[in-house]
Amino acid sequence: MFGIVSDLSRWAIPVVLLLVPLIAMIRGVSVFETFVEGAEDGFGTAIKTIPYLVAMLVAISVFRASGALDMLVGICAPVLDKVGVPAEVLPHAIMRPLSGGAALGIATDIIKTDGPDSFIGRLVSTMQGSSDTTFYVLTLYFGSVGISRYRYSIISGLTADFTTLVASVYICHKVFG
């Protein structure tokens, strides 16, 4: 049953790369020019992540090299191990709803340290890909129309984030475990 998840992974991008230009062509889009026009923003978008990545990777790298991360992992591991969560991903789970760039920095650090194809690497990749910066989105969207009382938005947002986290752990164990 979980084979379908890996098939989906294998086919998703090739299918998109086949269908999108074909459909665009049929719809009369000048495919090459349009592609280039969109791609123009790539440099700026990637460069914009630098301040976030530097800030976060400096902090996490100091935190790791000092031995503090190992201490945190040592404290949390007994509890988290029971539910199948490697304690190394804890800083990512905490940071994810707060700042996308910061969480990406932590994910990068884990992928670099443990390898992208390790269980932790795959899990943190799924966690990074699947969740959003809930607090940032709420602040931006509500702020833009002058709303200061969010009512239950934060609760439903964090419930979704937590469910996504649990689902990531579950599916990674099933598919990669």
Partner: protein
């Protein structure tokens, strides 16, 4: 909150290093961290540039509109308070469709327009979120993601033998999160309407 976590990691890191008697690792770790960050961002230029090109094509081909037609029946059900033809509905549908396709740049302006239209429908206190706004943001922050481009790029940079193997697990996890968001939103809306 980010401020405290960031500061906390730095301060605790430096104190622990000092307590362990090897405070000199801090300088090296900080510089290395910065170097890895810049290198990663530069390597990311490739995949982000490529993907933004593909996504522009998807937009021009009308795929956002096509997807919007598919999600419309669901949004009609989720936003009973909004008239079908109201501009708020159009903006919500377009925002969610762009989110699903991973078109962050297109999604945000649509989302902000949706919020303005929802605010026009707000019959209560203009500083308090309406039911529809709460539902919209619950969907927006938990939205299904089909292709998590950036993390695929990071995996590629660090030598994954199969960078896209996490696409399926990501779709599964986001589908679960979105379901939870919809259910939770309904429960909380009911509880709040009962005066919680």
């Amino acid at each position: 909150m980010v401020n405290y976590i960031w500061l906390g990691m730095m301060v605790v890191g430096i104190l622990v290093a000092a307590a362990n008697g090897h405070v000199e690792v801090v300088t090296k770790a900080a510089l290395e961290g910065a170097q890895v960050a810049v290198q990663t961002a530069i390597d990311l230029i490739a995949i982000i540039t490529f993907w933004l090109g593909v996504m522009k094509l998807a937009e021009a081909a009308g795929l956002v509109r096509a997807l919007a037609r598919m999600v419309q029946p669901i949004t009609n059900f989720l936003f009973p308070g909004i008239p079908r033809k109201h501009p708020a509905m159009g903006a919500i549908v377009m925002n969610l469709s762009a989110n699903i396709l991973g078109l962050g740049n297109a999604a945000t302006p649509m989302g902000l327009i949706a919020m303005q239209e929802l605010q026009k429908l707000n019959r209560g206190d203009p500083k308090t979120a309406t039911d529809a706004m709460c539902t919209f943001l619950a969907l927006n922050t938990s939205c299904i993601t089909l292709i998590p481009t950036t993390i695929i790029g990071i995996r590629l940079i660090y030598g994954s033998s199969d960078p896209t193997e996490i696409v399926g697990t990501t779709i599964f996890a986001t589908a679960a999160g979105m379901t939870a968001a919809i259910i939770m939103d309904r429960i909380l809306r009911y509880l709040y309407s009962k005066g919680w």
